[in-house]
Amino acid sequence: MSKAVLTGTHYMTGDEACAEGALAAGCRFFGGYPITPATEVAEHMSERLPGVGGVFIQMEDEIAAIGSVLGASWGGVKSMTATSGPGFSLMMENLGLGLVTETPCVIVNVQRGGPSTGLPTQGAQADMMQARWGSHGDYEIIALAPSSPQEIFHLTITAFNLSETYRLPVLIMTDEIVGHMSEKVTIPDEKTIVTVNRKAPKGRKDRFKLYQPGEDGVAPMPAAGDGYNVHVTGLTHDERGYPVMTVDAQREMMNRITGKIHKNLSHILLNERFMLDDADYVIVSYGVSSRTSYAAVEELRAMGIRAGLFRLITVWPFPGNAVKELAERVKGFVTVEINLGQIHLEVERHVAGKTAVKLVGHTGGTIIPPEDVVAAVKDISGKGV
């Protein structure tokens, strides 16, 4: 057996750090289908998983890949897949199945330029709304956006922990630039890494109800073979898991799966505030675009313009209240993202006309340069471009 946690400092890509984070979190199943720029996550897992007692399967396509991940999770194993835009589109139907069956797993999207085949080797952040609403029906989702190989290592652990805590699929929305970027990644001592495992059921097996929530709103989950009577279906179901086609059953199920997120926002919402305390202008950004934004904040401060960064680490659910509070006291917002305005819609919605809002977007294929952000802030501050 080789080590699951490679304690030490390494020079690795975001994709490799993602795989190492998964292993450190206890992931022991990866079902995937190769696609640029996510292939290296699969490749690294295929090299590492057998050595730590895990299983790697290359499936026939992405639909099967996420199917295998859901199945492995019901087998009691922490499971993951990684893909990019075209594969993410194919996974949408089974993502819904994972949500409605409350199946913990992690899905990584290393975003590239789209639509369709798009720009396979070049980055974008244009799947952010697909992450929110890509599968049909109403639901809440958790999506995290790392900005460096070091952060993707930690956030992959966080993604598994959130997934196991709330019993639902969690998305990691990274991009080609972070995925293929190499930087120093420090992997801590195994003993200091906090990992969470799904709650196991207690009590009489014949009285067990698969979707009966505990006090925290989350139902314990047995693994196949544990001896519990489990019925797992995509149809609307009652607490036992049996299909019930009624308005009441639908309401109860929907309230449970969305309530897990609504009631735990303080635990789920992660963000970073950089020079925000005295800021007149707030840059809202996430993932690789936040690296542009840090550089822009420093340039603006050097010019005497009080700019700050509100970096979204959890992009979904969106931290609407934090934006609302900021909108009460600042003079303007600039959203920076490699798409034509997706998270920007959320910023606009929560600022609700209280102050100026501007988008620095991009059609994709590269990173946004800091000077574009500097120009946008100068523009709304009336200090000229």
């Binding site: 400092t9 390494h10 020079y11 640029t36 396979p120 080797t121 070049q122 630039i177 293929h180 970027m181 190499s182 930087e183 120093k184 690789v288 690296r291 542009t292 840090y294 550089a295 420093e298 590269t366 990173i367 340069p369 800091p370």
Partner: protein, 192 residues
Amino acid sequence: MKKEVIITGFGGQGIVLAGKVLGNAAAIGDGRESTLVQSYGPESRGGACSAQVIISDTMIHYPYIRSADVLVAMSQSGYEKYIGQLKDGGMLLYDRDLVQPDDSIKEKYAVPATRLAEELGRKMMANIIMIGFITSVTEVVTLDAAKTTVTESVPKGTEKMNLDAFGKGYDYGLSRLKGLERKAAGKTGAMS
């Protein structure tokens, strides 16, 4: 001190590996910050590709290079694509049999990396020779860090062969620098 290095060539020359060795040597060997981003097309071989390495003593936010201190060109198309990003007074390092630079570039250092690799029997080691050349000419990474990283980055069993290639490029760089010193001192030498 911040140094920004672009390495460019075609897919298959080991351009990204060369970038990875430099970045790794700086980050792990020399204990500094370094960020490597890569760019390549959907074709894995033959297309233009580049590796951009930023080496710094402080945290690196923006990961792309717009004004390079060093451009390393291993193909004419790569040279043409990236020469505009070399800052005034920046250094151009190039494979002398594959790249014809403009006369206007003053700080330029040529090495027949591919030919030297062919003489060693392995054309694919041209990138390692180039890393040796970069190490001696630019000093963006230390010799120890570069050698250790080359050893750790190449397939098992090829370490000695690659270290020889590295040494060849490194020594070629040293002799070029000495030649330039002699030239500056008004002497003419074999290497000038």
